[in-house]
Symmetry: C2
Subunit: 257 residues, 2 copies
């Protein structure tokens, strides 16, 4: 991969074999050299988790043109860390992409998403980073309509970069025909009814984490959920600095000694 083209590192949380990551590689290969390091198995909901106690292994899996797809036994964040350490010593990626995720990462899913974990880790490493997600949960869904949007966003960021500490969370509504693009803020929402209790045949209870998403501001036209519910591609710029600046003076007033 010694070329004059930019280098893009791609990972995801659905695993190296997911149709979404293959589609993303297919879309960006004309624009850049591409390196893929993605989880060996599905790691949905892994957020910014990394493997503090488990060892990692790396395996070459298959080729897409001149791109070798590697699997890593760890989390999405681990994939970014090991890819940069093991494959990018001489040439740092110009851009890091997560996705295309099979499922919605807007609203509070920004916090839980392993796809956003990829983008945040890239951003923490000072590299422009974008997460792409489709609200189609079905892995057989047609993601081809995303192509021109992904191409334009990737080209723009390759050309202009992103400010330090800011990455993009891009979500596509569950449709094959989009109304356009909206730049949004994160929707306030909640997961409810999250735990389902089951009884094991051996006599004990166990639990699944599932849940329903509740939009707490469905009328907010500047929110990413509103954009998605109305057929728009939602771009939610996301900050690494999570300081609540507007509450600092109140806490100072508490005068804890």
């Amino acid at each position: 991969m010694k070329s004059n083209r930019p280098l893009i590192l791609i990972s995801n949380d659905d695993g190296y074999h997911a149709p979404g990551i293959k589609k993303l590689v297919d879309i960006v290969r004309p624009l850049a050299d591409v390196l893929v390091v993605a989880p060996e198995s599905a790691r949905s909901g892994y957020s910014c988790a990394f493997s503090a106690t488990d060892y990692l292994r790396l395996k070459p899996r298959h080729n897409m043109g001149d791109t070798t797809v590697w699997s890593c036994t760890g989390t999405p964040v681990d994939c970014v860390k090991i890819a940069i350490d093991q494959f990018c010593k001489e040439r740092k990626p110009d851009l890091i992409l997560g996705g295309i995720n099979h499922g919605d990462n807007s609203s509070v899913n920004n916090h839980y998403s392993g796809t956003m974990g990829v983008a945040k880790e890239g951003c923490l490493k000072g590299i422009p980073s974008i997460a792409f997600s489709s609200c189609f949960y079905n892995e057989d869904a047609n993601l081809e309509p995303l192509r021109p949007y992904v191409e334009q966003i990737v080209s723009k960021v390759l050309k202009e970069g992103l400010p330090k500490g800011i990455c993009l969370n891009v979500n596509f509504p569950a449709t094959e025909s989009f109304q356009g693009v909206k730049v949004c803020r994160m929707t306030r929402g909640s997961w409810i009814s999250e735990i389902v209790k089951e009884h094991h045949p051996r006599g004990y209870d166990y639990f699944w984490v599932v849940g329903k998403y509740r939009n707490d501001e469905p009328q907010a036209e500047d929110s990413d959920q509103w954009a998605l519910n109305h057929g728009y591609v939602a771009i939610t710029p996301t900050t690494i600095d999570v300081t609540a600046y507007n509450f600092m003076d109140t806490v100072r007033g508490w005068d804890i000694k």
Copy 2:
């Protein structure tokens, strides 16, 4: 637990057996009824991860006075979800606490920390939430000097609450005598040299994720790392809304179609 006292839910990422969580229970029991649901084993670095594909189990482990300590096989976030669903149907917690973590959760660790995962999950559920962490990594460290600060902060938040969407990240420096309290912003920093390659006796390579923290702004007196490095207790108010508002107009100007 039917009393007029407030109810505090406590979890952590070091596991239900860690000295830090026992110390936290001990400190707050005079102030409230306490419920503990914490990971069965250490879950450091689990961020806001939840178990999307693994089932959970719950087990009562031991009692601290009238508080039953439960373990959960899942992540710190799972612990909050299952505790609220299974134990808080009639009475929602008034406050959710993570910790006391054995290790520093300031700066970018805010994103990786399972202790902050507890606080963020509580905040996502609309409940005032605080993470407490000590920069002593040694589990034998004396955490008794934290007591008056934890008491004051917990009492203040029980009385006044926190704004929706804001939780507190409280870190204590690795000393037994504090200079006071500083309300801080998150320090810009990075983890570097994160991957160590080893060779397995069976002939393959494997990798550990470790690393060194690099402070990218060591002179910034308003940052949480500066406070900790100068002996102050650091309170970093943390926001759930991670929208990068100041970059939205730039992205709108890209005019993606």
